[in-house]
Amino acid sequence: MFARPKNVRPDELLFRAGTGAFAVLLIAIVAAIAVILTSESQLSIRHFGWSFWQTDTWDPVAGEFGARPFIWGTLYSSILALIISTPIALGIAIFVSELAPGSLKRPLVFLTELLAAIPSIVYGLWGIFVLVPAVRQLETMTPEWLKTVPLFSGPPLGVGMLSAALILAIMVIPFSSSVAREVLKAVPQSQREGAYALGATRWEAIRMALFYARTGIVGAIMLGFGRALGETMAVTMVIGNSPQISASLYAPQYTMAAVLANEFAEATDDLYLHALVEIGLVLFVVTLIINFISRLFIWSMGRQKRPRPALATEPARSAA
């Protein structure tokens, strides 16, 4: 709004430099995470190369490190969690933004936010003592014919992939649903009115809105995926922490975040430590990419919604 004056006053300069320095510091912290994780995993990267991600043996005593089971466990549990949570999160988003009466909206939003506010460790504790026994009960009831399916094979332990996926789904739902809700809010009312005017039923109008908001909704789901990948405590406590690759929902497995939580403090020799940091580095890079893409999707939705009516409430901003 204001053109930048040619001769900036010294106090203005000081203010800008002073606050700007903290902004630079924040950026430096993020950069430092990338740099430090890379430099602290050099030994492992040099020593193992790509085979680190293609080997299944994780034997700190023998100095053999293969991270494939952890990648598998992280991806498998997160994808399962996504399959469970997506319909529910979308259902909540639709219910809150399209169906619920006004008086019900705020309490529902508050409750879903509460679901996100409960600490991971509390979910984990509840997982160990309530969810896992319940899942074990469920697993013992597996009918014989179903046990031949790889997905349901193995002894009913309770701890394992199924418990981890369930608890992850619970923890991811509030994130995806709140973003999906915001995205649906951004759909112009005229879209729905148009659908109704053409004689659409309520669901058909909602489907139009969903279609309109599709990029943002994919973004919301991906955001949840990013959360699930990095979730540590609750998963560590229920997944069984056994580095093996199995398709079975009943099998105890391991994730990248969980192996860091369990073994990092005990990593004595340098190669072991660097191998663990390399897992952290990959976790960092993967969540970075996923979050970036999901924000891009959500952001592109937000841009569609604003046809730029120059509102008087918009704060003045220099066009620099």
């Binding site: 259902g91 039923t201 990948l229």
Partner: protein, 282 residues
């Protein structure tokens, strides 16, 4: 006709499913709260807050050291994060549109998405490894790094909500930009910013993963920032995965304390934002 009936039926079915999914999501919330309260309340007593952990096999004892440790580590985090968060938030709001403000916003969003365990690994590498020593300070740094983006974003958004007329009034009276921001704009947004900080503190105090190998754990009473320190969350974790009945009892009590803290802070924040909204409207 038949087709219309099908369409209407489908619509009702979908609405029903949406309502059902709300119930499905609220069920675990209710279950978690129910178990934490019922299991925790029977184990929570005064000695939980005042006594030290007893050795294995001896019943009783409390988490006095862990509670103090959690407070200390969270405080250290806040001391580290609040200046960086607020000042970079001020920059992003004041100089929105500059390349640096876009970069800082991007960095904050990135940091917000970094898994907390990875932040723990980072702080271990910069604050534990060089000194060969787990410390409360390292734990505080880890929590601080997680807090920064939350505070920065809240500050920025709330500063933008302050009416432009306020700032223009101050500038018209001859205030410098710094003066206008720090004596008029920031104070106007302060209640909201404080609420945001409170929420960030509540969230961060419940973190476990970044503390596992920064603050580590300590069986003894410690307030030395250079020494490893026990925290409520790490203690709950240790007790939960141990095979002792009495420790499980205490873990539930710890969970109850954590959940109460988060609940109270969320409610306070909600009341505060509702009041702010009323003020802005009225």
């Amino acid at each position: 006709m038949n087709r219309d009936a099908w369409r209407r039926g489908l619509s009702h079915a979908v609405i029903l499913l949406c309502g059902l999914s709300v119930l499905i999501a609220l069920l675990p919330l209710a279950l978690v709260l129910f178990y934490v309260v019922t299991q925790g309340i029977t184990s929570l007593n005064l000695s939980f807050f005042t006594e030290m952990p007893k050795p294995v096999g001896e019943a009783g004892g409390g988490m006095a050291n862990a509670i103090a440790g959690s407070l200390l580590v969270t405080l250290l985090g806040a001391i580290f994060a609040i200046p960086i968060g607020i000042m970079s938030g001020v920059y992003a709001a004041e100089y929105a549109g500059t390349r640096l403000s876009a970069a800082v916003r991007f960095a904050a969003d990135t940091l917000n998405g970094v898994p907390s365990i990875v932040i723990g690994v980072f702080i271990y590498s910069v604050a534990v490894l060089p000194f060969r020593q787990f410390s409360a300070l390292a734990g505080g740094l880890a929590l601080g790094v997680m807090m920064i983006p939350l505070i920065m974003r809240t500050t920025e958004e709330l500063l933008r909500l302050v009416p432009t007329t306020l700032r223009e009034g101050a500038l018209a009276l001859g205030a410098t930009r710094a003066r206008a921001v720090f004596t008029v704009v920031v104070p106007a947004a302060l209640p909201g910013i404080l609420t945001g900080i409170l929420l960030a503190l509540a969230r961060i105090a419940g973190e476990t993963a970044p503390l596992l190998f920064t603050a580590f754990n300590n069986r003894f009473w410690s307030t030395d920032v250079r020494q490893p320190i026990s925290t409520l969350t790490v203690q709950v974790f240790t007790y939960a995965i141990a095979p002792y009945e009495d420790w499980h009892r205490q873990a539930w009590a710890g969970a109850l304390v954590l959940v109460t803290m988060v609940l109270v802070c969320s409610l306070l924040a909600r009341v505060a934002t509702a009041r702010m909204e009323k003020l802005q409207r009225g």
